[in-house]
């Protein structure tokens, strides 16, 4: 192991478990995940449907709390924070990219990108910062377009601009290319990898596409709520 990699991982997950209770039935979505992701790393999470990929992403994204286990984000134990504290963590440290883009239909591109800034403690120069983020994803000329006036690939780029506008440590993308054709999908991958290379933003992607996964530094394979294999680890 190289010395540099011994610094604090940005994501450190210990024996993470998540149980969903549906009436009398218990669904063990995660059954003890151990995982570390270093700052600046690009990681793909693969696995069959129902293996717990989205559940793990929700834990990493602080959208949901684990049933047991520990999760350190940037060295901070976040697995037992309160709802509002988690909201602040999500706002500052995490950028989400969803399969279905999840843009507000009434707002234009710039207003969509501004949204995380409005919920942050620093609400200065919203326009400038959102415009800069849209420039970075190559949509500087589409600021006033509503989502329905944009192609799927462009909408996903607006979503990426929204994910990076608050300069997060991690971008979490759950099947970001799932709704796109292979050409636009590749453009989105290029963009995400480019942002990682330029800004050192950690990138975690859930995907079913081996071609997409192959472009990341490491592939983690889940099965039945457990890590089954890791490939291409450093």
């Amino acid at each position: 192991m190289i010395d540099a990699l011994k610094r604090e991982p940005v994501i450190r997950v210990r024996n993470l478990k998540k149980v969903y209770r549906m009436g009398d039935v218990e669904v063990h979505a995660l059954r003890g995940i151990d995982l570390e992701v270093q700052p600046g790393e690009t990681v793909a999470i693969m696995g069959p449907s129902g293996s717990g990929k989205s559940t793990l992403m929700n834990m990493i994204g602080c959208l949901d709390s684990p049933t047991s286990g520990e999760y350190y984000l940037d060295g901070q134990l976040v697995s037992d924070l309160e709802d509002d504290e988690l909201a602040v963590v999500r706002n500052k440290k995490i950028g989400f990219v969803f399969q279905n883009y999840n843009l507000l239909p009434r707002a234009n591109a710039q207003q969509n990108v501004e949204l995380p800034l409005r919920y942050s403690s620093d609400r200065s120069s919203l326009r400038e910062r959102s415009a800069a983020a849209l420039e970075k994803v190559g949509l500087g000329d589409r600021m006033n377009h509503k989502p329905k006036e944009l192609s799927g690939g462009q909408q996903q780029r607006v979503a990426i601009a929204r994910a990076i506008v608050n300069l997060p440590s991690i971008i979490l993308a759950d099947e970001p290319t799932g709704n796109l054709d292979s050409k636009s999908g590749q453009e989105i991958m290029d963009l995400l990898l480019n942002l990682n290379a330029r800004n050192g933003t950690t990138l975690v992607i859930v995907t079913h596409d081996p071609g997409v996964a192959a472009q990341t530094q490491r592939i983690i394979r889940l099965k039945d709520g457990l890590v089954q294999a890791e490939e291409g680890a450093l």
């Binding site: 999500r90 706002n91 929204r162």
Partner: protein, 410 residues
Amino acid sequence: MKFLQALKEAVSSISSNRTRSFLTILGIVIGVGAVISLMAIGEGAQQTITRQIESIGTNVIYVMGGNMSQDVTNPRPLTLLDVKALENRNRAPNIEAVSPVLNANSSVKYGGESENTNIVGSNTAYQKIMNLEIAEGTFYSDTEVSSGASVAVIGPELAQRLIGRSSNVVGTSLRINGQPFRVIGVTVAKGGSQFNNPDLNVYMPITAMQMRVQRGDSADRVQFIIVQARSSESMSAAISETSAIMRASHRLSPRQPNDFTITKQEDFLSIANSITSVLTIFLSGIAAISLLVGGIGIMNIMLVSVSERTQEIGLRKALGARKADIKLQFLTESAMLSMIGGVLGIGLGWLLSSAVGIIAARAGTQLVPVIGVGSVLLATLFSAAIGIFFGLYPASRAANLEPVEALRHE
């Protein structure tokens, strides 16, 4: 400036679905409109009644037969003898003027025209006590009263209706209750309500009325007596003089209660005021119930809106919105909806009450609806409060959504 942000979002959300927003606030619009217009009409009616009562004349005391608060055996009716007694300056130094009054409805005919109208019998002092102004001719004199002359003073509108003109009618002969009367004067137009319009009155010497219009009734009967005090300071002295003279005139022993009732103009005012304000409060209260119903309508639509926007709420939470942020957003929206309803309702109330004022004026009643700053302020604040109150539940439902669940919602 989180609040400003919430305001902007509320405007955008409300205006993105105008039809629904309008239907949502309709209940509030109607409720506020009803409250505002009823309060305005009530206030206008109160002012009209006050004006009418005040126009009767100042420092006036009314003496009526019977005791209204106590049972009296065989109360004596009021007569012209009582009036004579009250006119005695030596015994009643604080009394300025006294007149008997007799009211009746009777037919008045001129040529082929006929009107059924209010006949007032009185003596000469009546004109001064009631501020009755004469436009043409004269009021009847003391001589005419003591001789029971067949003369009449009529209101201008009655003259118009019967004779076809409201001036140049002195000397005309009318038939009142079948008896011939000569018009000697016309009063100045005052305006008034349909039911109590002095411009349609006929005034005649009470003696003439007793003999020719009220035939069959005991000859010197008087309905009530009006007494004018010398000044507002001498009112209470005038009242006790009136009471003492009336007791003596009715030969009441010291242990017998009054068999007459004395009332002041202010008493009528306060009774009228309390009746109109009780009516106004009662009707506004009923209208306020529709405000509650309107509030429930807002809550209903806000709940629908929360469930429609579940995914949006999940997204906002994922992007860092805290519970308070979501709550503020939905509360602002419902408060704004309700306040828009309130403002439109004030407009509607203004329209409604103006319409009522116009209709009343057409019908001959002077009623100017009064929309006070107070009721506008009250309506605005109240509707905002309704919006906040009925928005609380939907807003906290939204705020407490789990981000993952909300995001997954389709």
